[in-house]
Structure formats: structure tokens, C-alpha cells
Amino acid sequence: MIPDDLRYTPEHEWVRPGQPAVRVGITDFAQDALGDIVYVQLPDPGTAVQTGQAFGEVESTKSVSEIYAPVAGTVVASNTRLADEPELINTDPYGEGWLVEIEPTDPDGTGQLLDAAGYRELTEK
């Protein structure tokens, strides 16, 4: 399940382009590999992030995975529902299980990211 309207990183994050902020989550492939997610740690709104910077963690029953900022910018929202319902990432990774919204420093910053075809190729390797 790799929606065509999203952008992707090789670290298995998705980015939904938008104005003024982009929405970020982890892919279905990533949630499936992690297994049941039990804890999510996200940055507070206002946090400045650089591209590729680890800014949070998604932890499952068996392992933990860092989340990397897909674009540089400022975190303007985080999904507070995940504190009590981290399983939303498993059940709806592209919808209710979103992680944060980032207002990019460069409005065209998502142009460097993979498109759905490029990401699919990466997951099929």
C-alpha cells in the first residue's frame, strides 16, 4: 500500500505535500516491519528540524525505530492522539496514524523526495 499522492524517504517516512505545512508519517511497509506499536515520542510544536535529523521514536513490542525529518523546517503540530492510541500507526498509517506537521523552510523541499514508484522500487529490493 503506497499511495500515489504522497512523497517518501528511504527511511520509510511519507510526506503529504501541503501549504503551509506538510504532514509526515511512517509507511505501511514500516509499520508492518515494526509490528505492534506501543509508544511514540514526538517533538513539541515549535521545534526546528534539519533534513535527516532524528526527531522522534516509534517503538513496538520488539524494537524501536527513529523518525527522521524528511524536510527542514519547524514542527507546527504533532498527533497527540498517538500518546494513548499508538496502534493508529498500525491500523491507519497514512491517515489517523500521522505523526507531525512541518512547515518547511524551503517550500519546494519535498521535490527531492521519492515518488510512489521510486519508493515502491526501494521496498521491493
Binding site: 505492534d36 513490542t61 498500525n90
Partner: protein, 368 residues
């Protein structure tokens, strides 16, 4: 890499069930299933019934005149505490250091026949040590590939066995033999989950038929196939040690609080002198439980701190699906004097997560 791993006779069943696999003790075994996941499989075992393929476990027969006496002179627990038809948790200690080469279950068939279930990764070493020490007439046979082992665990496990026409009434830590179709099974009242349960020792070739029958008979009871992921969260909630983490050749049963499985009054068992000396001197470190006081989840090898001072190491740590918080087993330096209810922190990837020291289990067992 997977080419070197051994596979259970149920491997294709697991593939059909969409299992994710993991390497464990030299075997490729199911970690979790497509329709389950660790949390759902864990909950099925705590509230209904689950079935695990644990065919990676070792199987060793020790036969010949005086086989039981021989085993009793090697392994730590006192086999004279039980009679034929009973099973016992015991340890294979290194004779020089009293470190645990393995922890295992011994099934006493009679004075001339003992069946052992060691851990997968340690089976060859346990066999090697026993064979080297065995007196004339006693043979030690590694039967790793002769039997599959299916663990049926959970409050509805007795109902499931009843539905299959298998014996279910025998008491905890005992076993019975039974026929199932053309197969001869051993039905053991043992397990690694803390629930009422059974471990079925099944001839290798008969395993797929028994597995299918368990899932069919268990369907109305809510049975789920459960993988090693749930097995690990279930055993950690009980504080059961996992060899290679909470117990190892570098960890003695005094440190791991397993002295209840040591026959101190026996004249001889491997590691006796070293263990007595350690008990006399006091252990350098002790295994404790930790319960997270915030959202932190402790993991193996994380450092335990008292203030700024490292005082121990997490040996097993996970999210407890039952209690919905992080739990751990940790070896803590004895000289610190740390005790139940004291507070420490664990370095969770650079963050100091507060934890309280407790005595396991983390969840009350209901094995009987």
C-alpha cells in the same frame, strides 16, 4: 544466511499463515502471524488459548541402567524430589564456574530413562557434556530432529485438549503419554507463559496433523497461533529467565535467583563447589525486576543507574501487554544494597527513564 538455519516440520504451515520469521538458536521460527501480532497473540494466551510451535527446543534422551542417578549427579536440581511421570526445571552448570550452560526441563520416565528439553542453542553442548561424563551403559542421544514440540497455553487449553481426546487432568509439572490417530504423543503440563498449559512432544512427521487438529478444535475457543514475540512478552511478565539473556555461562543461579532449582543437599552436581563458595561469599550481583514509572521501555543491555553511577544492566526488557508499561529483568550490583521499592533510572537511548525495583513476577501466574 537463512540457508544455514534449521526449520520446523510446521514451516510451511507458518508460511501459509503469513508468519514473519526470526532466527532463534540456529532455527528459523515464527515471530508473529499475519492475523495476530504480538499484542493480539499475547492476549489470546492470557484470556483464551494460543498454540506455539517450539520445535526448536532440544530433545535429548538419556537411557540405560542408572540414567536418573547419572543425571542427578550432573544437573543442579534434585531429581529425587520427583517421581516417574513428573518433570522438573533444572540447570546444567559449568563445573568450574557454576555459570549456567543451560536451563532445561527433565522428564523422569524411570530410574533408567530421563528425557531432557534443553534450549535450542545449547542442546549440542549439553549433549556433549553429558555424553563425556556418562558411565558405561548410559547413552545420551540428541533427538533434536525426531520430535516437534507444540505448546498449547492459556485458560482454555484444557478444554482444547479435551476436544482432541487428549489427557488434560494431570497436575502441573507432570506428563502423560497418549495416542492421537497413529501418533504417540507426550502431553506435558509445562509451559513458559505463566498460564495453565501443555507442551505436546510429537514425532516430527506427525506434527502437521496435530497442529491442524489443535487449530481446528481450538477455533470455537478463540485459539490463535502465537509466535516467539508473544512467547517473549509472556515469559518476561512472569520473570522467567531466558538463557542467553538473564542466565548464561557468565551468570550463576545464585545471581539469577534460581537457587530453588539447586539441590544443595546433594553430594554432587556440576558447579557445586563454586556455587557453595558464591553463596557463602554473597553474590556480586542479583537479578531484580524493574517497572517503568513513565513511558520508557527498557531493552537488553541498557545501563541501570543510581544517580550518575552505573549499578547494573538490563538483561531482558519489553513492553508488558498486560500492564501496558515497560518491564525488565536486570542484574544489579549487590554491593549497592538496592532493594525492592527503591528507585533507579535506566539509560533509554540517552534519556534517564525512572524505574522501580520489584520482585517478579510482574503478572500473577495461573499455571495450576
Amino acid at each position: 544466511m537463512t540457508a544455514d538455519l534449521r526449520r520446523s516440520p510446521l514451516h510451511s504451515r507458518h508460511v501459509d499463515l503469513g508468519a514473519k520469521f526470526a532466527a532463534f538458536g540456529g532455527w528459523e521460527m515464527p515471530l508473529e502471524y499475519a492475523d495476530g501480532g504480538v499484542l493480539k497473540e499475547h492476549t489470546a494466551v492470557r484470556t483464551a488459548v494460543g498454540v506455539f510451535d517450539v520445535s526448536h527446543l532440544g530433545k535429548v534422551s538419556v537411557s540405560g541402567p542408572g540414567a536418573a542417578d547419572f543425571i542427578n549427579a550432573c544437573l543442579s536440581n534434585d531429581l529425587n524430589r520427583i517421581g516417574p511421570g513428573k518433570a522438573q526445571y533444572t540447570l546444567c552448570l559449568d563445573n568450574a564456574t557454576a555459570g549456567a550452560v543451560d536451563d532445561l526441563i527433565a522428564y523422569l520416565h524411570g530410574p533408567d530413562e530421563v528425557f531432557l528439553i534443553p534450549n535450542a542453542a545449547n542442546t549440542a553442548e549439553v549433549c556433549r557434556r553429558l555424553a563425556a561424563a556418562s558411565p558405561g551403559g548410559v547413552t545420551v542421544t540428541d533427538r533434536h530432529g525426531d520430535y516437534a514440540v507444540l505448546a498449547v497455553q492459556g485458560p482454555r487449553s484444557a478444554q482444547l485438549l479435551d476436544a482432541l481426546g487428549l489427557p488434560s487432568e494431570h497436575e502441573y509439572m507432570s506428563f502423560a503419554t497418549a495416542r492421537f490417530g497413529d501418533a504417540s504423543l507426550t502431553v506435558c503440563r509445562t509451559g513458559y507463559t505463566g498460564e495453565h498449559g501443555y507442551e505436546l512432544v510429537v514425532p516430527w512427521a506427525d506434527a502437521p496433523g496435530v497442529w491442524d487438529a489443535v487449530l481446528d478444535a481450538g477455533a470455537p475457543l478463540g485459539v490463535l497461533p502465537a509466535g516467539l514475540g508473544a512467547r517473549d512478552t509472556l515469559r518476561t511478565e512472569m520473570g522467567y529467565p531466558l538463557h542467553g539473556q538473564d542466565l548464561s555461562p557468565r551468570i550463576t543461579p545464585v545471581q539469577a535467583r534460581l537457587t530453588w532449582a539447586v539441590g544443595w543437599k546433594k553430594p554432587a552436581f556440576w558447579g557445586r563447589a563454586a556455587l557453595l563458595a558464591e553463596r557463602e561469599a554473597g553474590p556480586r550481583r542479583l537479578l531484580w525486576g524493574l517497572v517503568a514509572l513513565d513511558r520508557g521501555i527498557p531493552r537488553p543491555h541498557m545501563v541501570v543507574l543510581l544517580g550518575e553511577v552505573p549499578v547494573g544492566e538490563v538483561t531482558s526488557g519489553t513492553f508488558s501487554p498486560t500492564r501496558k508499561l515497560g518491564i525488565a529483568l536486570a542484574l544489579i550490583d549487590h554491593a549497592t544494597g538496592l532493594h525492592e521499592d527503591d528507585e533507579v533510572t535506566v539509560d533509554v537511548r540517552g534519556r534517564r527513564a525512572p524505574m522501580r525495583i520489584v520482585k517478579p513476577p510482574f503478572v500473577q501466574p495461573s499455571v495450576r
